[in-house]
């Protein structure tokens, strides 16, 4: 069973993500409220996939990805960024930070699951 970490400062969005992932069969989901929390949780566990929001207090999502990529166990793990922006700028930033892919917010559950399935099956 794949272990997932979702990082978002909005309780509601974490709930939505969690629900959608559960429906898709991913029941081992851990939640973190910001980058700092996410990094701390990632450090004590070994997640197979991390989905993170970009704009968060304390530590933003892109910084989090940069930090995660420095940790050997996460250097190659898939990390998806959840973003409301779809601009090239965002993509450049996302990619540069080391993210595997992006999901646009608001997300459609099926789309989210498709993206998750693909990165996890690789």
């Amino acid at each position: 069973m794949a272990k997932l970490l979702i990082v978002d400062d909005s309780t509601m969005l974490r709930d939505m993500l969690n629900y959608a992932l559960n429906e898709g069969g991913y029941t081992d989901v851990t939640e973190a409220v910001d980058g700092v929390d996410g990094l701390a949780k990632a450090n004590v566990d070994n997640f197979d996939l991390i989905i993170t929001d970009v704009n968060m207090p304390n530590m933003d999502g892109l910084t989090l990805i940069g930090e995660l990529r420095k940790i050997p166990q996460y250097s190659k793990k898939p990390i998806l960024v959840l973003t409301t922006e779809r601009s090239d700028e965002m993509k450049t930033k996302g990619k540069a930070s080391g993210a595997t892919g992006w999901i646009v917010k608001p997300f459609v559950p099926d789309q989210l699951l498709k993206a998750v399935n693909i990165v996890l099956s690789r």
Partner: protein
């Protein structure tokens, strides 16, 4: 699969309230001191960004659409594409107000596109003007970005079979997908396997991103963007000491041109702006304090209840162990039980501390209200608050916020004068309202002070007399402060004209009732022309109270210690009878205090006829005192309060219950209730007397 949107909307509304409050407060401060720090701009942007993203996620399209413009302006401020000028704060505060209105209407499904346009046009014009730099200080150069067309953020996501593409996004014509995968780095990683042990080599390595998969149209890949390794990015922030200079140079170059939007699309730019590095450093420092979880208050109450049961069980055990005959065993059992009791008490304290939240959580609601009302009334106000970190029982916040809000409204409306009036009476034109909180003598003391015109106590007293709240005798004997307290009576208002803010005469009595419900008390000090100080005294918690066991006939009751003024054994000359001879008065140091026979109140057989054979306990609530006639008082102890109305039903004269050490139920007297009942009796007597 789809979401239960209504459920998430509820969550969103709750979340939105906090975000609005947070953003409002930053802006209010900015409006006051005319500046906005980078950190504050970052927070503003995040708050509004979250509002947009979450709002869009729960299908509040119009809300998200308007919020997009507000966010856009904040984004530009954050990135210094436009410079902050003080007037912007007001524009953004108004923008947030429009957002709130839209949110309310859209959630109620009561918002048409026409109304939306009507509501937003004015605000949008302003926001866009500022966003595009057309309104700005002339001397400051403004980098004008290509105006962003207001594109609906949520575009037919769910009504579209095509998995919700964002096909109207101007910047993204090539990649109309709702998610994408940054070109595969896994292959590359495998090639580079082993490099991860060596920072330097990993840094110098630059990944080549190539698309790996293009399943249907739902995916986006990047093949034309030069890339940086994560490590290289971190280097631009000098976080890593070992640097590869050869790669640093190009990054700095891109950083410079990154300010120019047109070039940015073709060049990669460093991801981590300076500000976020600062935030990050701060975040790491704050990490320990940031380990918070949200817990439902009910769960803590349950925990508190469990510990309460533990206290009771412990008391039962202690009582039972005293029946152990062998004294050696008995003593060692008791010794260990004492230890247990201490641990339970520690646990009780810990749980209490979970329930405590800083006063800040109440204060944070006020600046916005003060601003809005003072603007409406054209008064100048400086609002100050002290004791932000003083902790208060979370359970009290709900009951306390409304009364405090009402008091502040009242101070603004009736207390403070207009700038002209103030100047005419030799004051500065800016009025002041100060709220402060402190813990003293096991009580929470909150004071609200204004330097306004004060309360005309005579006017209040005459009005109360006129309305029959007090009689002439009372009127003649009242001190100024007692007269001032009359504003807390129902229907008394000094306002000659009813205003929108307050002044209907309802409210202050509600304030008093609410404070008393929390087991608290009020005090009012006012000086005509100088101002008013309202002091609220509250118990630190609603969960535990110090009680005194009193015996009434064959029953035992618990009296909250905080309400007791004094106790005495009366002599016959201290007791006077009035009315038809059924009402007794205690004459104590030239003060007449009505006597309440607890036996009578609860329908118990009295064990004595003459009051001087029993004890009298003087209790008070506010300025009203009564003397309770009881048999005797017993011991004093802490009790865990269990609400009666939740478990049984409310009973007049009984505030709550507790479970005693022997497992029996103890009833806690409700002093406010008893006093009110007594006052009603007196009122009826007065009426009957007048009628006859």
């Amino acid at each position: 699969m789809s979401f239960d949107i209504s459920k998430y909307r509820e969550m969103f509304i709750e979340e939105a309230e906090e975000l609005f409050e947070s953003a409002d407060n930053v802006l209010l401060e900015a409006e006051n001191n005319g500046s906005l720090t980078d950190e504050e701009m970052g927070q503003l942007f995040r708050d509004v960004h979250t509002l947009k993203g979450s709002g869009a996620s729960v299908e509040l399209k119009l809300f998200a659409e308007f919020t997009h413009d507000v966010e856009n302006m904040m984004d530009k401020l954050r990135n210094h594409k436009i410079e902050f000028i003080p007037e912007m704060a007001g524009v953004l505060i108004d923008g947030l107000d429009v957002m709130k209105e839209i949110l309310d209407l859209e959630v109620a499904e009561n918002l048409t596109r026409e109304t939306f346009t009507e509501m937003t046009t004015a605000s949008l014009e302003e926001i866009r003007a500022y966003s595009n730099g057309t309104v700005a200080k002339k001397e400051e150069p403004v980098i004008i970005e290509t105006p962003v067309t207001c594109t609906p953020v949520v575009d037919e996501v769910l009504d579209n079979d095509n998995f919700g593409f964002f096909d109207d996004d101007l910047n993204n014509k090539k990649e109309n997908k709702s998610y994408g995968i940054f070109a595969d780095d896994i292959d590359k990683d495998q090639n580079n396997f082993g490099f991860f042990d060596d920072d330097l080599e990993a840094v110098s390595d630059s990944f080549e991103y190539t698309p790996i998969d293009k399943e249907k149209e739902n995916f986006g890949f990047f093949d034309d963007v030069p890339s940086l390794t994560p490590d290289a990015i971190m280097k631009t922030n000098n976080i890593e000491q070992k640097e590869n200079t050869s790669i640093e140079v190009p990054i700095k170059e891109t950083a410079v041109i990154a300010n120019n939007k047109e070039e940015v699309s073709s060049v990669s730019r460093p991801t981590v702006p300076r500000a976020s590095r600062e935030t990050k450093e701060k975040a790491i420092k704050k990490a320990s304090t940031n380990n918070n979880i949200r817990v439902n208050l009910d769960k803590i109450d349950l925990l508190m209840n469990n510990v309460g049961d533990l206290v009771i069980t412990n008391a039962m055990l202690t009582q039972f162990s005293s029946t152990i005959e062998d004294s050696k065993t008995r003593n060692s059992v008791l010794e260990r039980l004492e230890l247990l009791e201490r641990h339970i008490r520690d646990m009780q304290d810990s749980i209490m501390s979970i329930r405590m939240v800083p006063m800040e959580s109440i204060y944070s609601k006020f600046p916005k209200v003060v601003r809005d009302i003072s603007k409406k009334l054209a008064k100048k106000v400086e609002f100050k608050h002290f004791g932000d970190n003083v902790e208060i029982d979370k359970a009290m916040i709900e009951g306390l916020t409304d009364p405090l809000m009402h008091i502040i409204r009242n101070s603004l409306d009736h207390g403070l004068e207009t700038p002209e009036e103030r100047e005419a009476s030799g004051k500065t034109d800016i009025g002041s309202i100060t709220i402060s909180a402190e813990q003293a003598n096991g009580q929470m003391i909150i004071t609200i002070e204004d330097d306004g015109r004060g309360i005309n106590v005579e006017k209040v007293a005459l009005k109360a007399l006129d309305q029959g709240q007090i009689d002439e005798n009372q009127y003649n004997n009242m001190t100024d402060n007692e007269k001032a307290m009359l504003v807390f009576g129902a229907g008394v208002s000094t306002a000659d004209q009813i205003s929108e803010i307050s002044g209907r005469g309802v409210g202050m009595d509600v304030v008093k009732t609410n404070i008393q419900k929390l087991g608290g008390d009020l005090k009012l000090d006012t000086k005509l022309g100088e101002g008013t100080v309202l002091t609220i005294m509250l118990p630190l918690t609603l969960a535990i109270l110090d009680g005194l066991d009193i015996a009434v006939s064959d029953q035992k009751y618990i009296l909250p210690l905080s309400s007791i003024v004094e106790s005495l054994q009366p002599t016959s000359d201290m007791i006077k009878k009035i009315g038809d001879g059924t009402q007794d008065l205690l004459m104590l140091r030239e003060e007449f205090i009505p006597i309440v026979r607890i036996h009578q109140l609860f329908g118990l057989e009295s064990s004595f006829e003459n009051l001087e054979d029993g004890m009298l306990i003087v209790v008070k609530s506010g300025n009203t005192k009564v003397a309770l006639s009881i048999d005797e008082f017993l011991n004093q102890h802490q009790v865990v309060v269990k609400p009666l109305d939740k478990n049984f039903r409310s009973v007049e004269g009984i505030g709550a219950a507790t479970v005693r050490g022997d497992g029996s139920i103890g009833l806690i007297l409700d002093v406010v209730g008893i006093i009110n009942a007594q006052m009603n009796i007196e009122k009826n007597m007065n009426k009957a007397r007048k009628a006859s």
